[in-house]
Symmetry: C2
Subunit: 767 residues, 2 copies
């Protein structure tokens, strides 16, 4: 653990005390988002110390020119990057002409941040003695509205404590910003117009190359010692507009500034009418007023929590951790717009360029399916459908043909955003995760319509890819898949990664089944898809030949599938026997050494056992878990959750709990020493899975919800809710007893520990 | 073939006609070098068209900051790069104030370049009508002196053909130059002083970071219509000094400028006295005069050719090709300075940063051993001895210990200069080539002294590396070497590359033998080395355990060693059955596709059969050649020569000749469409090997020279000379007969086609 300054609290993140070393970490941890935009917890007022400025608009990206050491054919020329957007939160404060700047204050006391997850707001308070000896008390409340998702609101209150002073409060919008993650220091924004009217200001700018039009706007209301005032002056430069409010205040008097700000974007509005759209948004916000808007915020978050909260009794840090994860997932993605997806850093940083990884399908989808309306999951699936053409182009760049689709490793707009050959070209199992998500959606929601309407074409593209990517080995008399990187990225360019081969086979077989089902049940869709894809029976037969004759490496001696060909040639020293000083190996070892070691970054064979649990016996799971986990270093944030779920299934609750701890407070406790760059959003969904699927043992089998509840001995109880096919069930687990509560009006039956349990609405059943 | 504008000629490269499209290619092909410096064939006068300016000083490099897409532990932070040095060849010409610029002339006729390889000079002539309608005839002769290797000389003659004009001739030195291969646009040079005196000018500058001090200097003598003149004016800027000679000339009159220029460098002189050193050099040159200096040039090249020439009768293009190769090798490296080595682009371009590859040991050493004094080969070996500490550091960075040495893939100063993990960290067979060169030197020269004096320590470092790099596979009950890239770089991160494993085993065994030999024969050296390396018998025993139990992949079915584990799982379609449109695959295919294909870039298993020919029977060679060559695409310039030698050995002279053709005119005919970036210097030594070892069948066995001469049916005869242990033998091969001529005074016996032949000095023996 690298930090422990966040106070334990069930509903809030609280930081106390000002520490320049923690600024960037706290900027990440206290980030705000509302699905449409988000921002790091940068200070409103000037801060001359080290900071990482970040404001992000969902779906607005820049295709930065790729940087590589040595070019390889097939690398993307450009890749979409999360883009730092113009700043609307800034408020310069001057006290007798000296800027308020926490980096230069003589004394700071009572510095406190609170991120109130329950109600969705962020408060910062402090007292300070400025460089010119003026003592102030400051209280700032900020939130990004869920109700009107183009706007955020700030109430900035400052009180003079020791003497009178002339106080200037200058809220501004500023497009003079930079991206830390820029490869070539290109200009990302082209500013086209800067304007203001009364207490409002606007900057119109569009992104270079992608031409996303945006208007960054603000509306400010200042009150000095109870008196509303209008701006004294407006400062305008090419990139910035500042409204200057200025009055003299006496000791004990307060200035209060309310600022609404945000973005209107050409993806949602006519690009020529963004200022008008901004004015409408501001009118709405101003009518509600700060308190009214805050009220809607509390209500909106109450609705979210009503469905997605997990309570843990008896362990406040675990409680805080899980809520932080759920909070951040909801800040990042709310499923309202199928053009958006779940960025690995959400709205908390720039790193990793591009917003979508296979994390979405493999880790996030279950969370959104169970805690939201099924439309949200549909949106995630539709996102990939919309990118199918680009996935086909991507495959073509790598030499595939006939509509084979390879979804990108990382993307914003469907184009590949990554350029390490061993990942971009070889970590192809991602394609399988996208097919699996289609199956998983149907399994969980019972809604088959996605497949005939959209999914079948995606599946056909994916099946075609696997068919072409495998080749027949005369030597093995089987089909093999050579040169891949599995989920365990500590192996590159291996042959016959079991997980990849298994997924490839499954994709082909699943696709073939769906073709038949659509043909039988949705003949119009079938005809449309066949006309579009030009698929023939012969082609499907050739796919099936590959699937039926797929090679799977295995060890007779160990009774396990091998992660890949040759895995047993390694020096098989288990992690427990590895010197602690060598960990984490990704920081201590050169890449070749990692590659030839047996160490596993995250579940690989076991990822397959997770996805296809019902294909294997519990004994097989146990044998594979006992073989592979001891070599696993869990150096990916996505690793512990799968192992936690499997350990729970094997009845090893202590181990399951240990894994759970590693995932739930990963960022809060900054295990990887990098939280200042942003949060690990997608792995947060894994934490949710660890509880619901791991401890709660939730599964869907034959259209029924199953639970096998267990509880870590460290906890008194925990509870979660799931929305299963529009039926909401609350599950509460205590030592020795589980309670189930069904909302709604109709009965339903579930299985608990294998036994059928009938739930009567509004009545708690204890098992 | 991509160009054919170079006229066939046995001793010269001749280009006729001016073509802007050929400028950069010709700049490469007509490059000059003298081992200490070199330059592309850039024009002296202003040229506003596309050009690639390059002047290089041997051993002067810049550690450029590494550029990678995604950082991996172990990558070098900086790497040494060939550095474009200040320009001393420039001469601005103004005719009535309009610059002479071939890019803006109204008409150009009689444009001709000649690189006279026999005498080591380069002449350019042309007639042109300038933008202001002045007709001129220009004749420029340039060479870099072998006699005084810090100086080059230019005679620039211009005659007015149609009218009088005011002619300004302005020779200059200019440090305002850039590097095309710069990663971050850093400034590479810090200019410290610009000065001039009379008809001389000097720019002192040192490289950033490496602080190589240099003085770029010139001396100019102008003669207008038979009258010597002094500079009218001196133009000085921060980066440039220009001497301005100016007179009016009548129609038919000629201005002739003689310019000497070059560099004095702090590696050879007191850094504070570089101008003084430059003056001394210029004094020497001026005393000799242009013609005198040119005379020494002719003599020096005559000496080189006397020893290294290969004649081919009946095939002028082959003759020109082999001489071009020999000429360029001698321009690049003359073995006078063990701090230098053979850059892959010599003095003809920047690309590939760093000067030394395993090419030196594997391909170039035989050429230099056979055509030079053995001190030259010693110098090459000493270079690696001097880098031993850095090789140990390099290995430490990758996690090796106890003095294990990993020589860099590419280097200038002993530090690694490459940063693709699959090469830098994994193409470790390079270490074996360095050990093999030590053996090869002893085998050829009979001089054992290098081993006790220097080589043994190098060998111990290398043996230690192999010992640590191998690991015991319980599964195979053998030692394996995982995660490597063999000479065939179209495979990355493979397990048990046969060549690497074989070399590793051989290195350990060879080292062990040398330890014993040094112990027995050179006890003082032995004690010194043992004290330094702290080697114990136990350690050697543990090496031998690895060597004796090394695993070698093989196929029973095909009766061959396998290039690596799993090679036979590929889709084994031979190159002949591959669609021509797919070639070269390194331009047409994405990297993953190349990797999973069976296609071989350059000899890999066969490289082992080349180095260790006497370990295998001819039948084994044939079986392996017939298995692997059909999968070989020869997309490395180092590929055809080894195959040519082996095809010749197998009596397949047609095939051997085809391979020979691919290598000997690679650059002249620009097979790879990249000659404009520079020449492929190191592979030129492979061309020499193709003739001497391939067609001539030269081998050294048991301290005796062996020949099995054959001749391609396209040739009438060919001849070459070798210096074998200070005995010079000339071999002339004709259809059905070979002649041997021994210089010197003592008899010696050789073997021709297995039969002993006694050579009497000064008497030709025909076999």
């Amino acid at each position: 653990m690298n930090q422990d300054y966040i106070q334990p609290d069930p509903w809030s993140l609280i930081e106390e005390g000002f520490d320049v070393e923690r600024i960037k970490s706290s900027e990440s941890l206290f980030s705000l988002g509302n699905g449409a935009m988000g921002q790091r917890a940068n200070f409103e007022e000037t801060y001359s110390g080290e900071t990482f400025q970040g404001s992000y608009i969902a779906g607005v990206y820049y295709p930065d020119k790729t940087r590589v050491g040595w070019w390889k054919n097939g690398y993307p020329e450009y890749f979409a990057k999360v883009l730092n957007a113009p700043n609307w939160i800034g408020i310069h404060i001057f006290l007798d002409d000296v800027p308020l700047d926490l980096n230069t204050c003589k004394k700071i006391t009572g510095f406190r941040r609170e991120l109130h997850m329950k109600e969705g707001w962020y408060r910062r308070t402090f007292k300070a003695i400025t460089a010119n000896d003026i003592e102030v008390e400051v209280n700032i409340l900020r939130f990004l509205s869920l109700e009107i998702d183009e706007v955020g609101a700030i109430k900035y209150q400052l009180t003079l404590k020791n003497k009178p002073a002339r106080v200037k409060v200058s809220p501004y919008v500023d497009a003079g910003i930079t991206n830390e993650d820029s490869n070539w220091d290109d200009a990302f924004w082209n500013i086209t117009n800067v304007s203001h009217k009364d207490n409002r200001a606007f900057i119109e700018a569009h992104t270079m190359k992608t031409h996303f039009g945006t208007c960054t706007f603000m509306h400010a209301e200042a009150n000095f010692a109870g008196k509303n005032v209008v701006p004294k002056k407006v400062g305008t430069t090419e990139k910035k507009v500042t409204l200057e409010f200025e009055e003299s205040l006496q000791e004990g008097e307060t200035v209060s500034l309310i600022k609404y700000g945000g973005y209107t974007v050409s993806t949602n509005h006519d690009a020529t009418k963004l200022v008008g759209a901004a004015n409408s948004v501001l009118d709405k916000a101003a009518i509600l007023g700060f308190d009214g808007l805050l009220e809607t915020q509390k209500n909106a978050w109450a609705d979210i929590w009503a469905m997605s909260d997990i309570t843990i009794a008896g362990d406040v840090k675990a409680q805080q951790g899980i809520r932080f994860n759920i909070f951040q997932l909801n800040q990042t993605y709310l499923g309202k717009d199928s053009r958006l997806n779940i960025g690995p850093k959400g709205f908390t940083g720039e790193k990793y360029g591009g917003s979508t990884y296979w994390d979405t399908e493999a880790y996030c989808l279950p969370f959104y399916m169970a805690t939201k309306n099924q439309k949200v999951a549909w949106s995630l699936l539709e996102y990939r459908y919309n990118h199918l053409e680009k996935a086909i182009e991507n495959a073509e760049k790598l030499g595939f043909s006939n509509g084979a689709a390879l979804y990108p490793m990382v993307t914003m707009n469907g184009e590949e955003c990554h350029n390490e050959w061993e990942i971009t070209f070889e970590e192809i199992h991602r394609n399988g995760a996208i097919a699996f998500a289609i199956y998983n959606y149907y399994r969980f929601t019972g809604d088959y319509t996605y497949i005939p309407e959209m999914g079948l074409e995606v599946l056909i593209g994916i099946a075609r890819f696997w068919h072409q990517r495998a080749n027949f080995s005369q030597n093995k008399n089987k089909y093999v898949i050579l040169g891949v990187t599995g989920p365990n990225e500590y192996e590159n360019n291996v042959n016959n990664n079991w997980y990849t081969n298994y997924l490839a086979k499954w994709c082909i077989e699943f696709t073939t089944e769906q073709i038949q089902k659509v043909k039988d049940g949705y003949p119009e869709d079938y005809d449309r898809v066949m006309a579009h894809t030009k698929l023939t029976d012969n082609e499907v037969d050739s796919w099936l030949k590959v699937a039926k004759n797929m090679y799977f490496p295995r060890s007779k001696e160990h009774g396990v599938f091998l992660q890949q060909d040759g895995f047993l040639d390694k020096e098989m020293v288990q992690v427990k026997d590895l010197d602690r000083s060598q960990r984490p190996i990704n920081q201590k070892w050169s890449w070749d050494r990692i590659l030839r070691s047996p160490y596993i970054k995250q579940a690989d064979v076991l990822q397959g056992f997770y996805l296809f649990e019902d294909h294997f016996t519990i004994e097989e799971l146990e044998r594979h878990f006992d073989f592979y986990e001891p070599f696993t270093v869990h150096e990916s944030s996505l690793s512990p959750c799968v192992h936690s779920i499997q350990a729970a299934k094997l009845g090893r609750m202590d181990q399951a709990y240990t894994f759970y701890l590693r995932t739930s407070r990963l960022d809060l406790d900054d295990y990887n020493k990098e939280v200042e760059e942003g949060l690990h959003i997608t792995s947060m969904a894994g934490t949710w899975m660890s509880i619901v699927e791991g401890f709660g043992g939730m599964r869907v089998l034959d259209d029924k919800l199953h639970f096998t509840p267990q509880i870590p001995k460290e906890w008194k109880s925990y509870s979660f809710k799931v929305n299963f096919r529009n039926r909401i069930i609350k599950v509460t687990v205590k030592e020795g007893a589980s309670q189930f509560f069904l909302e709604g009006t109709e009965e339903m039956s579930i299985r608990v520990n294998g036994e059928r349990v009938v739930l009567v609405p509004q009545k708690e059943v204890t098992v």
